[in-house]
Amino acid sequence: MYLEISKKDINNELVQKIHEISGQNVFDCYQCGNCSSGCPVVDYMDITPNQVLRLSQYGSIEEILKSETIWVCSTCLQCSTRCPKGIDVAKLMEAFRTVNLRDGVGVVDPDHLEVENKDELPPILLVCAMRKLTG
């Protein structure tokens, strides 16, 4: 399958929205891969953080929104601290999650959590989930 790159996708509305939410310019990225190499959870991601940046440059935001990566990101800020171009990658990840959550994708509704889950999950995780997944 081809990724079709076209003028209408470059810096499209979604890219601009991500820029508005995160304040980060994805076109600053020169693909050194520092974010991915330092990421402690990159093994659990389906696309690596530098690929998230690359796809953003192509305007392929939908592919990122569908990925596991943005949910796996633990916002440890390693990428943001080390990026040589000063991109706060964690903020970008947050922006992608926010776009999803605003559309009701991946939202955790505490009222509808299964009782078994509430029993099994450590309370701290539930608190995290509330903070991260409620938009």
Binding site: I5, S6, I10, F27, Q31, R54, L55, Q57, Y58
Partner: protein
């Protein structure tokens, strides 16, 4: 009997780890001929050289053997050191116990034994070394520059400003080279013509510069300081003194051919001025396409010329001139992209090469600086640029990096954005090489601020669908195959040595690398000279170069030439062939063997040696059947004594 001093260097641990220097010093002290021997940590250091000089005075030495590194490194250091204490510098002998001994062995006992033999052979040779003086020859204080691009122009101006006469030979009808075709230059985006034409005008009017356009070097004879060069000038057929530049002739001319200046995107007549700012600013007739040489067939321009400036009967002229030095600034051309069929160049009008795109960007170009594509004159909204088109492809095309393409492609994309604000440039690249002052910043600005999209990967194929060029590529960073529907494709082809330069280099007997670029005498320390004495290199004919590099190298070569010109005569190494007249039978074998034309039969039928032409290669000496030819300070006697030491 000579009094020879032997000085053994430790070179830190480079030699001393594998050669027992102390043991050798002790062992060789009694060797016949050695009057003094000692060792030191770094013989090439100032204290080391002083040690040699003191020993020469104290022990009244008349010959010196230094056992150290290769003579290519420090021979002249030690020659100069002994010359300071009045010993002829050709009384110095180097025993190479580093590159040819300690570095290639690990067993100290064997290394020491080999070093001992090397030193002994050097001593045997030194015993018979004669004191020699360099050969001197007169110096012609005129300089020939071949090629009138930016490198040739810069070198010519620098030397002419230094007060020496310069002749610049250019194959085309005007100077300016490829730089005059460019729109703007990276990374400052200043207009190429605006910065080049002042230099061209200066050159055209310089009192010390003579310009031959439409000319080529046919033959060269002589040697450094005294070259005799044959220059062939094709006639322009238009007398510049009579011509009023009214342009009536081009209007009358019925022949239309693709314009070289516009890279085939527009047409010119068979009588033409190459471009508006051409130097010299005069019309020239392209004999290959003109019909006027058959007066029955045409002659329209001549009829139209009221000033009667056109003369079809002009003949080519041959000039034979003397020069002291030659600068080669033969420049580059683009690798024929027709060789990469998958990119469709030549098949699709909207697949262009880099120089064609420069012309479209240029205010003097085919579109008057408007961004329009050749096929239908529409404004291209999406352009794909392909870097490394032919470069870095050792299997199919050129193995080397063409160095300037990363920068000019980004410049192209930027200038395109300046002209088409809503346009989208894409650049396919393998690596970005932006080493140079403000180059990396230029790239980063383009990516961050101008919205230029870089895609890492090579393009596999390009084909046409409707009025779009479909580009199939790969983005190796995301692992996606990529498809772009573009309006135009621009290829950044490899830089290759200019057309015809190979033939010129053969005529001049100049060395080239496997890609046809001129070879420098040393890649790091002598990048401005050829191994052939008297030839200097400038510009992209030596290897791909951008404008700042070409100008720097040209000024560097000019400085080398100015240093040469400031001498009263040229000097030449005296380690050359000599002939024993009593033994020479005049068989002439040596004459055919000599690659420099330095041997010839004199009136007594003796094969004499021309000291100035002889480069001391030794070919005639090994060919001489009677042993009459000998190399100074490398006689058969010396060689036999050296061999005897080793085999006994």
């Amino acid at each position: 009997m000579k009094r020879i001093g032997v000085f053994i260097c430790h070179c830190g641990v480079n030699i001393a780890d594998t050669v027992d220097v102390e043991l050798l010093t002790e062992k060789l002290a009694d060797y016949p001929g050695i009057a003094h021997i000692e060792n030191y940590m770094f013989m090439c250091s100032d204290p080391g050289q002083n040690l040699i000089k003191d020993a020469v005075k104290t022990h009244k030495l008349d010959s010196v053997v230094v056992a150290a590194c290769s003579p290519t490194l420090h021979e002249s250091t030690f020659q100069n050191a002994i010359a300071e204490v009045d010993v002829n510098k050709y009384q110095l002998e180097i025993g190479n116990i580093r590159e040819q001994c300690s570095w290639v062995h690990s067993n100290k006992e064997e290394g020491t034994r080999k070093a001992e033999l090397i030193i002994k052979t050097a001593v045997e040779k030194a015993k018979l070394n004669q004191s020699l003086d360099p050969v001197s020859a007169p110096l012609t204080k005129r300089v020939l520059i071949i090629g009138g691009g930016i490198a040739g122009i810069q070198a010519a101006l620098d030397i002419a400003d230094g007060g020496y006469e310069v002749v610049l030979v250019e194959k085309k009808p005007s100077i300016g080279g490829h730089m005059i075709q460019l729109s703007e230059t990276f990374p400052t985006l200043d207009c190429s013509q605006c910065i080049l034409t002042p230099k061209m005008v200066q050159l055209g009017k310089h009192k010390n510069i003579k310009l031959y356009v439409n000319s080529e070097v046919e033959a060269i004879g002589g040697f450094m300081g005294n070259f005799k060069v044959t220059i062939k000038r094709q006639p322009q057929y238009v007398d510049p003194d009579k011509c009023t530049l009214c342009d009536d002739c081009t209007v009358a001319c019925p022949v239309v051919v693709p314009s070289e200046y516009d890279e085939g995107l527009t047409y010119r007549k068979a009588i033409y001025v190459p471009f508006p700012q051409a130097i010299p600013a005069s019309y020239t007739i392209d004999t290959e396409n003109c019909l006027g040489f058959e007066p029955i067939a045409c002659g329209e321009c001549k009829k139209a010329c009221l000033a009667e400036a056109i003369d079809y009967d002009k003949k080519e002229e041959i000039f034979i001139e003397d020069f002291g030095a030659v600068i080669l600034a033969t420049g580059f051309d683009l690798y024929p992209v027709e060789n990469i069929p998958e990119y469709g160049y030549g098949k699709y009008l909207d697949v262009l090469n880099g120089l064609q795109f420069e012309r479209i960007l240029s205010a003097t170009g085919p579109t008057g600086g408007k961004m329009l594509r050749p096929s239908d004159g529409k404004v291209p909204k999406e352009i794909v640029f392909i870097q490394c088109s032919g470069s870095r492809d050792p299997e199919r095309h050129k193995p080397y990096c063409s160095k300037i393409c990363c920068m000019y492609t980004l410049k192209h994309a930027k200038l395109y954005k300046h002209k088409v604000h809503d346009g989208q440039p894409y650049i396919f690249y393998i690596d970005i090489r932006s080493g140079g002052k403000r180059y990396e910043e230029f790239i980063q600005e383009g990516v961050s601020e101008d919205g230029i999209v870089y895609i890492r990967g090579k393009v596999a194929k390009i084909y046409k669908e409707g009025d779009k060029m479909i580009v199939h590529g790969m983005d190796t960073l995301t692992g996606h195959k990529v498809k772009i529907k573009a309006d135009m494709v621009v290829l950044a082809q490899s830089i290759v040595p200019s057309e015809g330069s190979g033939k010129l280099f053969k005529t001049l007997k100049l060395g080239t690398d496997s890609n046809g670029f001129m070879s420098e005498a040393h890649p790091k320390l002598r990048p401005l000279e050829s191994l052939q004495s008297g030839f200097y290199l400038a510009g992209a004919g030596q290897g791909p170069k951008d404008i700042p590099d070409a100008v720097s190298q040209a000024s560097g070569a000019a400085a080398k030439v100015l240093a040469l010109m400031s001498n009263d005569e040229v000097q030449h190494e005296p380690i050359i062939a000599t002939v024993d007249e009593n033994k020479c039978s005049g068989c002439s074998v040596c004459i055919g063997t000599c690659p420099y034309g330095a041997r010839e039969l004199n009136e007594d039928r003796i094969a004499a040696v021309n000291d100035i032409l002889c480069e001391g290669c030794g070919a005639c000496i090994s060919a001489c059947p009677s042993g009459a030819s000998q190399q100074k300070n490398l006689t058969d006697d010396q060689i036999m004594k050296m061999i005897n030491v080793i085999i006994n």
